[in-house]
Amino acid sequence: MLANYAFIGIFFIAALIFPLIPLIAAWRLRPARPTATKLDTYECGLEVIGETRVQFRVQYYLYALAFVIFDVEMVFLYPWAVAYNQLGLYGLLAMTVFIVILVFGLAYEWKKGALEWV
């Protein structure tokens, strides 16, 4: 039983190692001759002013949330669409309810002004 989980562990370790190998290889193999110009954030363009961390407007997050919701909707819709002809009327109704709920959510967001960029 525990052996079954071992595969997950092995997979996890492999997943860690795989990207690390080229990174380490590149770090060891490349020549390193830094100069002040090279270490600058941009070699061309404007001088950097202030912090690199900025506060994003809250609207970004609202958009992201709305996007994720519709993403999840796609995840549900795909398998339903594939098995559409086998699920029958019940499947159609269930999916309609699901979409109506989503529409309600969208309407709510819209009405509350979450989609406006201020």
């Binding site: 039983m1 525990l2 098995a83 086998q86 699920l87 029958g88 019940y90 499947g91 709920i101 309600f104 309407a107 709510y108 009405k111 509350k112």
Partner: protein, 476 residues
Amino acid sequence: MIEIPPIDWSVVLQLCIIFGGATALLMADLFIPEVRRRVTGYLALAVLAAAAIAGVAPWGCRGHTFSGTIQIDSFSLVLNWIFMLGAAITIVLSFDYLPRHGINRGEYYVMILFAVGGMMLLAQGADLVVLFLGLELLSITLYALAGFAYPRTTSEEAAMKYLLIGAFATGFLVFGIALVYGATGATNLAQIGAVLAEGRIDGENRIYLMAGAAMTVIGLGYKISLVPFHMWTPDVYEGSPTPITAFMSVAGKAAAFAGMTRFLLTALETQREIWVPILAALAAITIVVGNLGALTQQNVKRMLAYSSIGQAGYILLGPLAASERGTEAMLYYLLAYTLTNLAAFGVLIALEARGEAAWNLSDLGGLWQRSPGLAIAMAIAMLSLAGVPPTAGFVAKFAVFTAAWQAGQAVLVFIGVIVSAIAAFYYLRVVAQIFMSEPTREVEISSDRVLAFGIGLSVIAIVLIGVLPARLLNLI
């Protein structure tokens, strides 16, 4: 053609009404202007009433649907009614509170409905996944509601703390469910119970199962503020808007107890000798810590938070008895506690008429002279919490004590009785303050009729089910 298993809609009728009503209310609220926000509340009450009536027909039936993941029996019906009663009184108590605190937003009522839906899933769930779904739905709405007064930092702080600790607990719950599934190959409570009864779990699987069971208990124990998973309770209860504190402390707790009882008595029924001792010890510690903490509080809201920790310990005596009597006692206790705490918090809400905190013990000074009705309500609520007859609190305590005693938990009963004697001190201090001291500062008292109605209803019910509990206990 894929076979769709037949669905027995009568099992999920109440759930459908609540969720459908909540969704519809969310839409309807968009078109209700703020000055008429009470309409949203009345609509929410109507939804609750419809769902409550829908619970009458299936009374006495047992059934399950959605592949045995959701079930209905008298246990869940009674609990559903308790949740709806708690929610309805909370809504009634909020009508006056919200505009005075400048948070008159319609989502409030909608989220209470969704929370009730989550609670119902906990009561009706026959599957660990459904229990998890219910608990999360309940928790997420409560996080939002705790922070509902969001320009106020205390409210935000409460929500933040609740969320952080809640997320922590949820992690354990999911992990626990996964481990239980890994060990038994089932998430259905009855199936887990059957697998355990056959006794073919051993070796490593046994360890996984036990660790999983422990973590599931932790995930639910956090919600009933079982020591040591209780630390969030005083802060969150103090910071949240007062009606929400009331709602969390009664309905939220009742729901978690529902899930806990289902899990312990259905899935882990055969492992009684393992979980009874440790939970009995935790119940004793919870009773002691909660009541000790309440002792030195000068802030009544915080005192009630600690008191709710202590009360949770007493309620846990019911499931610990692992008998029909114990479950009945727990249900009765939950009902009594719901009414009592709502009345007590209702009085605090009335004192917050000016939109600022008036929770100090001294703010209650001379309440009798200023508002006899509120004074009597608070006194009865305190006596009920202290377990003085003929209030509901006494019958409840007596019921859990006798149930636990018959289950052989004599030591636990002993501790419980002694501590409840000492706990009378801080409850009585409130009564003494109300009747035996002069007001220290002018605290404006709300004269809202709906609020008074809500408090009055709770108080009358406390006395009524304390004097006439026989019929009710038989019903359960």
